[in-house]
C-alpha cells in the first residue's frame, strides 16, 4: 500500500485532464500528486518537472514516484529525458528518493489494447467487458452480466433480481456512499462494495473493455463518468 510519505509526479508530454492528479492522489492515498511536463521541446519542459518535484518535496514526501502518463509518447528520447530529469532532481533534493516507474504499457501495446477493445466492441462480446455497477452515474441503464463474491451474497442478490439479463437503472450515485438502483421493479439502496460486485454492461454503449487497462486509467475513466 502507498504510504502517506509518498508523492507522485505524473509525467506528461501534452494536454492533461486537470482532475487527473487529484484523482490519482485520492485513489492511491498519496501525500501529493503533481503533473510535470517533459518532452522534446527542451528546457522549458524540464523546468516544469523541477517545479513539480519542488512542490511534492515541499508537501513532505520522502519518496517520489515518477510515472509517464499513458498518453505520453514513450520512446527512447523520452526515456533518456526522464532519466536525465531524475538525476537532476536527485541532486536538487538529496533527502528525497526519486523512483522512475514504468507504466508497463509500451506504445505498441497501448495501440494493441485499443485495437482489441474496438474489435470486441464491434463484436459485442459480453465476457470480460463488464464494469461494476458502482461506476455508473444516475440515469444510466445497464444489463447484469454476472455477480462476484461469496455464494451467500450471490444467492441473496440473485433473489433480489440481479440475475444475468436483468436490466438495472441507477437512480442515484454521488460517487461516495451507497447507491440507489432500481431492478425488477424494486428500489434498493446498495453499498458501493456490493454495487461493485454486480458486473454490468451499459446499455446502448459499445462494450469496450476498461478492465484490461492499468488501474489508474480505469479510475480516471470512472471519475469522468461520475454523477455531478
Amino acid at each position: 500500500m502507498a504510504g502517506t510519505d509518498t508523492g507522485v509526479i505524473l509525467i506528461a508530454s501534452g494536454q492533461v485532464e486537470p482532475d487527473l492528479a487529484r484523482t490519482v492522489q485520492r485513489m492511491g492515498g498519496y501525500r501529493s500528486v503533481e503533473i510535470g511536463l517533459l518532452g522534446a521541446n527542451g528546457s522549458r519542459a524540464q523546468a516544469d518537472v523541477r517545479l513539480a518535484a519542488a512542490r511534492v518535496a515541499a508537501s513532505g514526501a520522502h519518496r517520489v514516484l515518477l510515472i509517464p502518463l499513458l498518453t505520453a509518447a514513450v520512446d527512447d528520447r523520452f526515456e533518456a529525458a526522464l532519466d536525465e530529469a531524475v538525476m537532476e532532481l536527485r541532486a536538487e533534493h538529496p533527502d528525497v528518493e526519486f523512483i522512475p516507474v514504468r507504466s508497463g504499457i509500451l506504445p505498441d501495446e497501448h495501440a494493441r489494447l485499443l485495437a482489441a477493445a474496438l474489435v470486441r466492441a464491434e463484436e459485442g462480446s459480453a465476457e470480460g467487458c463488464t464494469v461494476g455497477l458502482s461506476v455508473l452515474s444516475a440515469g444510466q441503464q445497464a444489463v447484469v452480466q454476472r455477480l462476484c463474491g461469496c455464494n451467500e451474497f450471490i444467492s441473496q442478490m440473485a433473489a433480489l433480481g440481479f440475475v444475468p439479463g436483468s436490466s438495472v437503472d441507477v437512480v442515484q450515485n454521488y460517487g461516495t456512499g451507497p447507491l440507489i438502483v432500481s431492478v425488477r421493479g424494486g428500489r434498493l439502496a446498495l453499498g458501493r462494495e456490493e454495487a461493485r460486485k454486480v458486473r454490468v454492461r451499459v446499455a446502448g454503449q459499445p462494450a469496450y473493455c476498461r478492465r484490461r487497462f492499468g488501474r489508474p486509467w480505469r479510475r480516471v475513466m470512472r471519475r469522468g463518468r461520475r454523477h455531478e
Binding site: R146, L147, N151, E152, F153, I154, S155, Q156, M157, A158, A159, L160, G161, V163, P164, G165, S166, V171, Q172, Y174, T176, G177, P178, I180, V183, R184, G185, G186, R187, L188, A189, L190, G191, E193, E194
Partner: protein, 666 residues
C-alpha cells in the same frame, strides 16, 4: 354445528403490508412470542368467519426461502414441517416482479398458495396497473387484489382461501423451471440425493436447494449420504458454482412470463411521487437536513404535548391517589403507608407519568416508519454509521432509544448480521432515553439556572459523541473493521395507516411496561425498604451504610455518598436518581425543597460530574435484562455493562477534575 379449523401461514417479502393484513384479520386477538430457540418474533392470531375458525401464523418477512438467514429457514420449515392448510402470499402491486420471486419459491412446496396483491392503490399512483385475473390465469392459483389499509379485498382473500382449502378452486400452479442449460445437472443431482432426503421434504425441491448452495439442506443430505455418494454430489457442486444464478434466473424467467400480460408499467420518463420525494430525501445534503427537521419535529411534538400531559397525570392522578391512600390507611401501621405510598405508588406513579411522552414518541416514530421514510433515514445516515462499523439499518433502533432503550434493543432484530447487531446493542444504551432526559431536565435548572438549556444540550451531545467514539473503537478492536454488506429496500411512500401505527405503539409501550415497568415497581419497593430500615432516620439505614462505604471512591468524581447512591439506584431505573436525591436531601420536603437543598449543598463541579456520570452510567436493570435476552450471552452483557461503568466513571472524574481546575469546585 361443528366448527372447521383452517390454518393459514402468511408469507411475504418485507414492505408488502403483510403486518397490516395480519392485524386486519386478527384484530387485537393476536399473540406475540418468539419462534422456538430464536429471537425472532412469532405472531399468531385467530379469528372466526362463517363456520370456520382460522388460525393465522405470520411468517417472518423474507426475500427468498434459501436458508441464508434464520428468518428464511423458519419460514420454510414452518410450511414444510407444520403443514398449514393454505399459504397466503402477500405481494405488493408496485413491486410485483420482485415480490413474485417468493411466490416462485412457495409454489413447488406441497402447501397450496393463495396470492394477495396488496397496495393496489399505491401502485396505481405510481402508474403501475395489475390485471389480477390475467395473473391468476397465468399462475394457476387464486390472485386477489387488495388494499389492506382500507379493508378492501380481505373478504375476497378469505373466500379464495376457502375455495382452495375445500378444493372448489381448480388449483393447478404453473411451476418455475431451472434455466434450461442446468436441467440435466438438476436431474443428476435429484438422482444422487433422492434416497437421502429426509421426510417430509419434497425430493426435487431438495435437489434444487442443494444446487443453490443452501447450507441447511446440504447439511441434511450430507449426513445421510455415504462419503463416496457425497463426493459425487460435491463434484457436481464444484463444477456448477453458478447453479445458484441459473436457479434464480429460471424463477425470474417464469416471473417474466407471468407478468408479461398482467402488468402495465408506467411510461418511460414518467417521474413518480416516490422519485420526486426521494430527490430531496436521499440527497446527501438535503436528505440530512430533512432528517434533522424530522427528528426535531418528533422531539418537538413529543415534549410539547407530552410534558403538560405528564404534569396533568402527576397532579390529577398520582397525587390524589397518594393522599387518598394516606387518609384511608391513617389508622393502620406506618410501615404499610410507607410501603404503599412511597414504595408501590412511587414506582407505579413514575411508570404512569412516563406514558404520555413515550406513547407520543412511539406514535411519531410509527408514523415516520409507516409512510416509508425510515429507510431513507437509514440511507442518508449510512455514511457516518459506517465509521462506527454499522450501517444505516442500525439508525432506526438507535433512534428508538431516545424513547426507551428496551424497545431499542428489541428493535435491533432488523439487523441481519449478528456482529452488527451485537455492536448496535452495546451502543444503544448510550442513547439518552426519556428517563435520563427527565433527570437532566429536572437537575440542570437546579444546578445551572442560567444555562440549563446549554448544559442539557451539552450532556446529550456528549452522550452521542461517546457513542460515536465507542462505536469506532469497538469496530476497530473487537470487530476488526470487517466489511458490512449494505443492501436495503427503499419502499414506495404511502399514506399512513392508523391501525398499524396504533398497534406498533401498543407493542412498544407494552415492552416498556412489561420489562421496565415491573422492574421499576419492584425496585422502588426494595429501595424504600433499604432506606427505611433499620432505625428511624435515613442516616441509619442500609442505604446510607452502603453509600458511606463507597464514599472514598466517589471523591475522585467529587461526589459525596448521597450523590453516589443516587447514581447507583439509577441502575434500577434511571429516574430513580431524582427519587433518591429527594429521599436523601430533603425527606418530606417535596420538589422545591429538594431544589434548594441541592443548590446549596452541591458544587457546580460535582453537579456537572454527577450529571455526566448519570448520563453515561450503566444501563438500567430492565435494559440489561433485555440485552441478556437478545444477545443470549452473559459475557457480552457484562462486557457492555463493564464498559459503560468504566466510561461513565472516567468521564465523571475528568469533568470534575477539569471543572475544579477552572474554579467551579466550591
Amino acid at each position: 354445528m361443528s366448527d372447521r379449523e383452517l390454518s393459514i401461514a402468511l408469507a411475504g417479502q418485507p414492505n408488502v403490508g403483510k403486518t397490516t393484513v395480519f392485524n386486519l384479520l386478527t384484530g387485537m386477538n393476536q399473540h406475540v412470542g418468539n419462534w422456538p430457540g430464536k429471537t425472532i418474533e412469532k405472531k399468531e392470531g385467530s379469528f372466526r368467519r362463517n363456520d370456520t375458525r382460522y388460525r393465522l401464523v405470520d411468517l417472518p418477512g423474507t426475500f427468498s426461502l434459501t436458508a441464508n438467514s434464520p428468518e428464511e429457514l423458519i419460514a420454510r420449515e414452518y410450511i414444510i414441517l407444520e403443514r398449514p392448510d393454505v399459504v397466503v402470499a402477500v405481494i405488493g402491486a408496485a413491486t410485483l416482479e420482485r415480490n413474485l420471486y417468493l411466490v416462485a419459491e412457495l409454489l413447488p412446496l406441497p402447501t397450496p398458495v393463495v396470492i394477495g396483491v396488496n397496495m393496489v392503490d399505491v401502485a396505481e399512483r405510481e402508474g403501475i396497473h395489475i390485471e389480477t385475473d390475467v395473473l391468476q390465469a397465468a399462475v394457476g392459483v387464486p390472485v386477489v387484489p387488495m388494499v389492506a389499509t382500507r379493508n378492501q379485498g380481505v373478504a375476497e382473500l378469505l373466500e379464495a382461501v376457502e375455495a382452495v382449502a375445500t378444493k372448489r378452486f381448480p388449483y393447478q400452479p404453473r411451476l418455475p423451471q431451472i434455466r434450461p442449460d442446468h436441467l440435466a445437472v438438476l436431474e443428476e443431482m435429484h438422482r444422487l440425493i433422492e434416497p437421502a432426503v429426509p421426510e417430509p421434504y419434497p425430493t426435487r425441491w431438495a435437489a434444487l436447494k442443494v444446487l443453490e448452495g443452501d447450507r441447511e439442506m446440504t447439511r441434511l443430505v450430507r449426513d445421510r449420504l455415504s462419503p463416496e455418494q457425497w463426493e459425487a454430489v460435491h463434484q457436481i457442486l464444484l463444477a456448477h458454482e453458478d447453479a445458484v444464478v441459473a436457479v434464480a434466473s429460471g424463477r425470474y424467467d417464469w416471473i417474466g412470463r407471468m407478468i408479461r400480460a398482467a402488468m402495465v408499467k408506467p411510461r418511460a420518463g414518467q417521474v413518480t411521487l416516490t422519485e420526486r420525494i426521494d430527490r430531496v430525501a436521499t440527497h446527501p445534503l438535503w436528505g440530512m437536513a430533512l432528517l434533522v427537521l424530522v427528528l426535531v419535529a418528533i422531539f418537538g411534538v413529543t415534549y410539547t404535548l407530552g410534558t403538560p400531559l405528564q404534569g396533568l397525570l402527576e397532579t390529577g392522578v398520582v397525587r390524589p391517589l397518594a393522599s387518598w391512600l394516606e387518609t384511608t390507611l391513617a389508622g393502620g401501621p406506618t410501615w404499610l403507608t410507607g410501603l404503599l405510598v412511597d414504595g408501590v405508588l412511587g414506582g407505579a406513579g413514575m411508570v404512569i407519568t412516563f406514558f404520555p411522552i413515550l406513547m407520543l414518541f412511539f406514535a411519531s416514530m410509527g408514523l415516520v416508519e409507516d409512510v416509508g421514510y425510515m429507510a431513507r433515514a437509514a440511507y442518508v445516515t449510512d455514511r457516518f454509521m459506517h465509521r462506527m462499523g454499522l450501517h444505516g439499518r442500525s439508525f432506526m433502533p438507535l433512534f428508538l432509544g431516545f424513547g426507551c432503550n428496551v424497545p431499542a434493543i428489541m428493535g435491533t432484530r432488523i439487523i441481519e448480521s449478528r456482529r452488527r447487531r451485537l455492536l448496535t446493542i452495546l451502543l444503544a444504551p448510550l442513547v439518552p432515553c426519556t428517563a435520563r432526559m427527565v433527570v437532566i431536565a429536572f437537575l440542570a435548572p437546579i444546578f445551572f439556572p442560567e444555562h440549563a438549556t446549554w448544559v442539557s444540550g451539552f450532556l446529550i451531545a456528549l452522550s452521542l459523541l461517546v457513542m460515536f467514539l465507542v462505536g469506532i473503537l469497538l469496530n476497530r478492536v473487537a470487530f476488526q473493521g470487517e466489511h458490512i454488506a449494505f443492501i436495503m429496500e427503499l419502499p414506495l411512500y404511502h399514506l399512513p395507516n392508523w391501525r398499524t401505527i396504533g398497534l406498533a405503539v401498543w407493542h412498544r409501550t407494552r415492552e416498556f411496561v412489561s420489562k421496565a415497568g415491573t422492574i421499576i415497581l419492584l425496585v422502588s419497593v426494595v429501595l424504600w425498604l433499604l432506606s427505611s430500615y433499620p432505625g428511624t432516620t435515613l442516616e441509619q439505614s442500609f442505604l446510607a451504610q452502603l453509600g458511606l462505604w463507597l464514599e472514598p471512591a466517589g471523591r475522585l468524581l467529587g461526589m459525596n455518598w448521597k450523590l453516589l447512591l443516587a447514581l447507583l439506584t439509577s441502575f434500577f431505573a434511571k429516574e430513580n436518581a431524582i427519587a433518591t436525591l429527594g429521599v436523601l436531601y430533603a425527606p418530606g420536603a417535596g420538589g422545591s425543597g429538594l431544589a434548594q437543598a441541592l443548590a446549596a449543598e452541591v458544587s457546580a463541579a460535582s453537579a456537572l460530574a454527577f450529571m455526566v456520570a448519570q448520563m453515561l452510567f450503566v444501563p438500567c436493570a430492565a435494559t440489561v435484562a433485555v440485552v441478556r435476552q437478545e444477545t443470549g450471552s452473559w459475557r457480552w452483557t457484562l462486557a457492555g455493562v463493564g464498559l459503560l461503568l468504566v466510561i461513565s466513571l472516567l468521564a465523571g472524574a475528568i469533568v470534575y477534575q477539569s471543572a475544579t481546575l477552572v474554579g467551579w469546585g466550591s
